[in-house]
């Protein structure tokens, strides 16, 4: 004990039961306090920096990813306790397949094991109403990993209190393309012809038959049967002629493409049904979106770039971001009230 250097002593004090209890209570208190204000409904994370963390701590890359996973678990706890409904994480980009095969395999193995482990605790997840969804190109996932993915998704699909969207092999451009494709597919399905109980062909036939029944009467009276025969054959050929192009024109009726709006595309996105993205956080100081949530984040989303590496990201670095978001939200609300105060408030800002 006496040979301890200060850093070890600090560690020992921090790890002592009363200290741990105190920190735990403090965390709980802070999280519960945050719930008093508005809390973002939907947060997205780009978990960047695992590899750099591993390099700087001289551990294996996959160890870095493992610690990153623990960090994710901790952040998820904070998010859901403070009342966030949906958390979306960028776990694996389609571009990441270009990394070394060794790392990709290790990551896949890790995902498989964690997901398998998760499905073992179905009851626990049900108790908290946690639902897991995997967004992305599933056809790119290895079959054995896909099995684990499907199992985990299946186990939790009926829960609806908090959602975790894992973007597994995902890029936003691919997502938008798929959404556009889905919309185009929707609009190239012919409307069902039996929507109304009246058929156009029946009506035209009826009109024609009435015309037929009236015209022969006029024609037969002055002339003998020879002309009526000709008349009949003409009318039959015309019905044939008019009918066949008519069918081709009227048969498939398409919905008007001019009625397509942004919400149609939105409904086909992988995040359809989720509340709008309020906050997007990217760690490790890279100031790019890297093909993540492009459609979702380009309007009112607050985007925050942090310099911490993802494994170092915890409540203490998350809290300031959240508080600043709340502060800003309060300002927006205040500015919404009354025009007189508006100028003053903006000046203060």
């Amino acid at each position: 004990m006496s040979a301890m250097n200060p850093s070890q002593l600090r560690k020992w004090i921090l790890a002592s039961p009363p200290m741990q209890w105190g920190i735990h209570r403090l965390r709980e208190l802070l999280i519960a306090a945050l719930r008093q204000g508005t809390v973002p409904k939907h947060i997205a994370f780009v978990m960047d920096g695992n590899r750099r963390f591993a390099r700087s701590h001289k551990i294996e890359t996959i160890e870095g990813h493992n610690i990153g996973f623990e960090s994710l678990a901790k952040i998820l706890e904070v998010c859901y306790k403070s009342g966030v409904k949906v958390v979306t994480v960028y776990a694996f980009s389609i571009e990441n397949y270009k990394r070394s095969k060794y790392e990709v395999d290790a990551l896949m193995e890790m995902a498989k094991i964690k997901l398998q482990q998760l499905s073992q605790h179905g009851q626990l997840l049900e108790r908290y109403g946690a639902c897991i969804r995997v967004l992305g190109q599933r056809e790119l996932i290895r079959p054995d990993v896909l099995e684990a993915v499907e199992k985990a998704v299946d186990v939790t699909k009926n829960n609806g209190d908090c959602f975790l969207n894992i973007c597994f092999p995902y890029t936003s451009r691919e997502e938008i393309t798929t959404a556009i494709k889905g919309t185009v597919d929707d609009f190239s399905k012919p409307l069902s012809a039996q929507a109304r109980p009246f058929s156009q062909t029946r009506i035209t036939q009826k009109i024609r038959s009435r015309n037929l029944s009236t015209s022969p009467l006029r024609s037969t009276s002055p002339t003998p049967s020879s002309t009526s025969d000709v008349d009949d054959s003409i009318s039959s050929t015309t019905t044939l002629h008019t009918d066949s192009p008519h069918d081709g024109q009227d048969g498939p009726i398409y919905p008007d493409p001019e009625t397509i709006t942004a919400s149609h595309i939105e409904d086909h996105l992988l995040t359809a049904g989720d509340p709008p993205l309020d906050l997007l956080i990217r760690t490790s100081g890279v100031k790019r979106l890297s093909d993540f949530m492009l459609w979702q984040c380009h309007e009112d989303t607050e985007i925050v770039f942090l310099n911490t590496l993802w494994p170092d990201f915890d409540l203490w670095s998350f809290l300031p971001v959240l508080v600043e978001w709340q502060w800003k939200q309060k300002h927006i609300e205040e500015r919404g009230f009354g025009n007189g105060n508006q100028k003053l408030k903006t000046k203060v800002r």
Binding site: K11, L14, A15, Q20, I23, H24, L29, L30, A33, Q36, G37, N66, E70, K81, I113, Q117, Q120, H121, L124, R127, Y128, D161, R173, E174, I176, T177, I180, K181, T183, V184, D185, F187, S188, Y254, P257, E258, I260, T261, A262, I265, K287, R288, L289, L294, C297, H298, E299, T301, E302, I303, V304, F305, D314, P320, V323, E324, Q326, W327, K328, K330
Partner: protein
Amino acid sequence: MPVASRETNIYRQDAKVNHKLLTPAERERLIEPFLPAPPSRSPVSRSRKDGIPSIRIDKPKGHSRLGVRKFLNSQLHALVYAIIHTIFSIYIRFRMGYHAVKDRIFAILYYHHRTPELIQKDVKGLSRLPEHVSVILKLEDGGRGGAGLEALVDEVSEIAAWCTCVGIPMLSVYEPTGILKGYVPATHRAVSRKLSSYFGPQHPAVSLRAPHVPSVESAPNSPISDISGAPIKELSIILISSEDGRDSLVDLTKTLAEMSQRSKLSSKDINVDLIDAEIAEGVMGEPQLLILFGPTVELSGYPPWQLRLTEIFHVQDNQGVGYQVFLRALYNFADVQMRFGR
């Protein structure tokens, strides 16, 4: 980090052997003390399912005590919330003050003096420059006619002049309302005038266009070979607005749907490359650097498709367009630290 280090250690040992050390039940017991109380909804539904009235008998006793505790707890939380936000608003005033002072110092140290040589000297050490820079501008207008528009046109022409001096051939200006699109020739005149105040009468040519609006080119009378001191011969500016974002993707979808209805196209043919080509043709390509002049990163409807790999730069708590922000964005893009003093 050190919260519950014993359990963390056990977890890590378990993880090291791919979770074969513990059974699922043991694992659940391990995390049990850290789980919050399950949401109130589930026990209620369970008791309803059982339909046993005996559960309800002992409820009122605990209920009143819980109520008081709940009330006290919520009061405490409200208090802590108020404290956090008070501290935060004090902190943020200080931070804003600090940043304002820092930005002032930068603005004094780095000023362009409308001299292309000075600007070129500022960016001489940079290893790489973006080919295509994009900026987001805001129309600051209290509803009083031309003042906001005039300021906006002036900002566009200033930025255009800096880009020309640095040698960036492509500039796109995003402004949500799209008011500038109605004043393309006037904006072009203003930019030309600004360039001649930097370069003299023999300034580089400017072409200004907006999607779906014919472009306005510089008068070809200036003999290009004579321009001295400008690293590029022509600057092209694109004006975009919020209708070039989502709406252009929606328009593309409409066209594709119409083609598909006439069986000119199968939906299998729709892929990223097709959309990318169409968007690049119809609106613009991907910018390499996006500069925001606002205090936070908020894209306010910037075209989403083009943002894929764009470097997004903003200066925290900054307000308004400034040369030092532009310069810091370029430094950041080239991954160079900017220091006080040249």
